[in-house]
């Protein structure tokens, strides 16, 4: 069982090495520009979450108001 696993892993590592020539965005990362994209994505995500948070607060307020009314 263990031997089989080693063989599979060895084969897998060979496979990965054989594919090292594949073109990836290495230059972009070297120039540091990938972080610009990361920054943009994170800004949008934070904006969306902030929006959700504000909506949540608004609904909580509504719930409280309606709770007082029906009492």
């Amino acid at each position: 069982m263990k031997n089989a696993l080693t063989i599979i892993l060895l084969l897998a590592s060979n496979f990965v090495q054989a594919q090292n020539e594949v073109e990836m965005a290495d230059t972009m990362r070297a120039n540091g520009k990938i972080y610009v994209i990361v920054g943009i994505v994170v800004i949008i995500l934070t904006g969306m979450v902030a929006y959700l948070y504000l909506l949540d607060r608004k609904i909580t307020k509504l719930e409280k108001e309606i709770g007082n009314q029906t009492k």
Partner: protein, 219 residues
């Protein structure tokens, strides 16, 4: 919904959006950097399935004990689930355009997902066509059970019986180490959990808003 769950969802998403773009990924021809789309495209479908799961759960609860609250929960989970499904479809089409060559291929998984979305859209049409609240809730709940039951063969079974360009076809994807590299799992699973939590949060907001609305109508 507990506040710490919302915070956890947000943190997981921040992690996956940075890690998903920066961490090393397997170098594969044709896919190139688009392999990272896995972190964003697939969680949409996982999220959809989980949200639909909650929807059918509340539909069955409604059928056992007809409370308006269960009906509201069932609809809103289905609503957010459908939104996730549409996003999954659009992201998948864009990804397919640049790796497989065209937006649409009629791949079994494409067709299955499209039919699933149509089945769920019919759920909203059915609900919208009924005036009486009780009737709408009961028929909606029954149809919801059918819709979920239809989704399982459409997404999980039929695509695996046929050859498909999606990974995991013609076998069990759970046992295929090649499909999902170990280095990708550390981002992929948090992404699934994070997106699901955000979806649950949105559904929770919609449910609470609907409850407020219902109370206003009653008083």
């Amino acid at each position: 919904m507990k506040n710490w769950l919302k915070v956890a969802g947000v943190l997981l998403l921040l992690y996956t959006h940075t890690g998903g773009l920066l961490f090393d990924v397997p170098r594969l021809n044709i896919l190139n950097e688009t392999i990272r789309a896995l972190y964003f495209h697939v969680p949409m479908w996982f999220g959809m399935i989980l949200l639909y799961g909650f929807s059918i759960f509340h539909a069955i609860r409604y059928l056992r004990n007809p409370a308006v609250e269960s009906d509201t929960r069932s609809v809103e989970f289905a609503h957010v689930g459908t939104a996730f499904g549409i996003l999954g479809m659009l992201t998948g089409m864009l990804w397919a355009r640049y790796t497989w060559g065209a937006f649409w291929h009629g791949d079994p998984k494409h067709s299955g997902a499209a039919i699933t979305l149509l089945v769920y859209l019919a759920y909203f049409v059915l609900r919208g066509s009924l005036e009486n609240q009780e009737q709408r809730a009961r028929l909606g709940a029954v149809y919801n059970v059918f819709a979920f039951a239809a989704m399982i063969p459409l997404i999980f079974i039929i695509p695996r019986l046929q050859s498909s360009m999606h990974p995991g076809s013609g076998g069990n994807p759970g046992f295929n180490a090649y499909d999902l590299d170990a280095s990708m799992r550390i981002v992929f699973y948090p992404a699934v959990i994070g997106w699901f939590l955000i979806g649950y949060w949105i559904a929770d907001l919609r449910i609470r808003l609907k409850n407020v609305q219902n109370r206003l109508i009653q008083s």
